[in-house]
């Protein structure tokens, strides 16, 4: 496992996030190498989303370090909360976080905002960008629904719009907070297969939060398991069940 010796694309050391007196994330350290497909797992409240938001720059850790590779090192060291245009890190969210009144197409186009000044986007996106967005929507199976406001779409469709919005950013690493939690089994598999395909064919590094162990076993090559904010397992998905079962009740962890 993890035999690649290239520099980690992401290195987290001693990450602590306190929410008031509650320590949501406690001393978590791990690193992710280019091309890995990693799942962060754990029960509700284990700190998965908190870790994810720290990586996405939406949260400032109480202590510890989130260190990105040369790809985006400069960008991440600035005090600006959001990523810089040269930093190709895309984020997908648990509840999609789309703009409900805008069309699926416009929501996807939002992924390209960083490449334009406000003055340019005030007048709309160029035709080439719109075609590109339409292509991504077709790829996630929503070609026909591109012009519908997203609040008319089902949860699964909205998440696929979220996938398209992330992918149009041409990320080198994709952070996905429960990308398939709200999808039916079939759509979930479709989305995961798409991520797997991008991971295998284009070398996209994927770091996602998953709930379903079976899903993890099928798609990812490494699992990080959180329990009460601590990292308690870091290894292949296949060994997880066996290793953990020896130590404690499996059910209490997932």
């Amino acid at each position: 496992m993890n035999v690649t010796h290239s520099e980690p694309v992401l290195a987290v050391t001693g990450l602590n996030v306190n929410r008031g007196a509650y320590r949501a994330v406690r001393d978590v350290s791990f690193s992710v190498r280019p091309g890995e497909f990693v799942a962060l797992m754990g029960r509700s409240g284990a700190g998965k989303t908190t870790v994810m938001h720290s990586l996405a720059g939406l949260l400032t850790p109480s202590s510890g370090n989130v260190h990105w590779s040369h790809l985006c090192r400069e960008a991440c060291c600035t005090d600006r909360p959001g990523p810089r245009p040269d930093q190709r890190r895309a984020v997908m969210f648990q509840h999609y976080r789309l703009v409900p009144q805008l069309s699926a197409l416009t929501n996807v186009l939002c992924g390209r905002l960083q490449h334009y000044s406000w003055w340019q986007t005030l007048r709309g996106f160029p035709a080439a960008e719109r075609a590109e967005a339409a292509r991504w929507l077709a790829q996630v199976g929503l070609g026909e629904r591109a012009d519908l406001p997203v609040h008319h779409l089902s949860g699964g469709e909205q998440q696929r719009v979220g996938v398209a919005r992330a992918l149009i950013q041409q990320p080198t690493i994709l952070l996905a907070d429960e990308p398939v939690a709200s999808l039916d089994a079939e759509t979930a598999n479709e989305v995961m297969r798409l991520l797997q395909q991008l991971n295998q064919e284009q070398g996209l590094t994927v770091f996602c939060v998953l709930h379903d162990l079976e899903m993890a076993e099928r798609f990812v090559n490494r699992v990080l398991l959180l329990d009460q904010g601590r990292l308690v397992y870091d290894g292949p998905a296949g060994d997880l069940q066996e290793t953990v079962r020896g130590k404690l009740q499996w059910q209490t962890l997932l």
């Binding site: 890190r89 969210f93 509840h95 009144q101 905002l113 986007t121 870091d234 290793t243």
Partner: protein, 282 residues
């Protein structure tokens, strides 16, 4: 390779802190209730409420009402013309007011502008809102002379006081999660406003604007009293000359306009689709 380090101890139970918190909140509510009670006592004492006086007033009130019927329909032409002017004033005043309110509201919204700018913009809005519409009317009559032009200017400013506040509160109440998502894509602050805050706010902004338009028709009626155009001027003239039947005609026409406006704004608001919120915070 796989490393296991499961902690047996749980987090310290936060139940105790929560109980203390609930107790504090109870006290807070009790204090609030007492404050509201005192407020009412104070208001009651200030009003010099007198049941006897109210009873003795009925004959006068009845006399006033009986002298209004039947309405004198001969002034219908005047009423319609004056009301049309009132509606024109309200429409233009609200439109200008909305156009001025929008940038001011962006400056006043804490989630969109730096702190110092919000303080300045809110101060300005408070100042404008403090001045009653009639006072704005007198001010502009003095500045630009009698007539509906003064009325439009007065209404514009009066509208800014309220619409500006409604707008910035709308911007601030918007679900922040979509905006956060756009921030992770590297979108700039104006882009986030254009693509996340504004689309989500638009239905509410339109809603408030129509409400204020409806309200402006009534405000424009009052403005006529100080000579700033519209139907109010005739109200004042008829009432001063004890032509209660003519004043009654104006009231009937005004009622028709108010009902029509109410129906219209209801219809528009019904057709403004407010997008379903997709989530709570994760």
């Amino acid at each position: 390779m796989a490393d296991i380090a499961v902690s047996a101890s749980r987090q310290p139970d936060p139940g105790r802190a929560a109980a203390a918190h609930a107790g504090g909140r109870k006290l807070w509510y009790a204090g609030l209730a007492m404050l509201i009670g005192l407020l009412y006592v104070w208001a009651w004492r200030g009003m010099e409420f007198d049941l006897g006086r109210l009873a003795r007033s009925f004959p006068h009130a009845w006399d006033f009402v009986t002298r209004m019927v039947p309405p004198d329909w001969s002034v219908s032409g005047t009423a319609v013309t004056a009301l049309a002017e009132t509606i024109q004033m309200a429409l233009l005043g609200t439109t200008f007011g909305a156009l001025i309110s929008f940038p001011l509201a962006v400056m006043a919204a804490r989630n969109l502008s730096p702190r110092w700018l919000t303080v300045v913009a809110r101060g300005l809005l408070n100042l404008i809102r403090t001045v009653p519409s009639v006072v704005w009317g007198l001010f502009f009559v003095a500045a630009v002379g009698l007539g509906p032009f003064a009325g439009v200017l007065a209404l514009s400013l009066y509208t800014v006081g309220y619409l500006g506040k409604f707008y910035f509160e709308t911007f601030e109440s918007m679900d922040n999660t979509a905006a956060e998502a756009l921030r992770t894509t590297g979108a700039s602050q104006p882009q986030i406003f254009q693509y996340a805050v504004l689309p989500q706010s638009l239905p509410l902004l339109a809603n408030y604007t129509i409400f204020i338009l409806e309200y402006s028709i009534r405000a424009a009626t009052i403005l006529g009293v100080v000579g700033a155009g519209g139907v109010g001027y005739y109200f004042q003239v008829y009432l001063r000359n004890f032509d209660y039947q003519k004043a009654a005609t104006l009231l009937v026409y005004l009622l028709v306009v108010v009902i029509a406006m109410d129906w219209f704004s209801g219809w528009v608001r019904k057709h403004l689709t407010i997008g379903a919120t997709t989530e709570g915070r994760s």
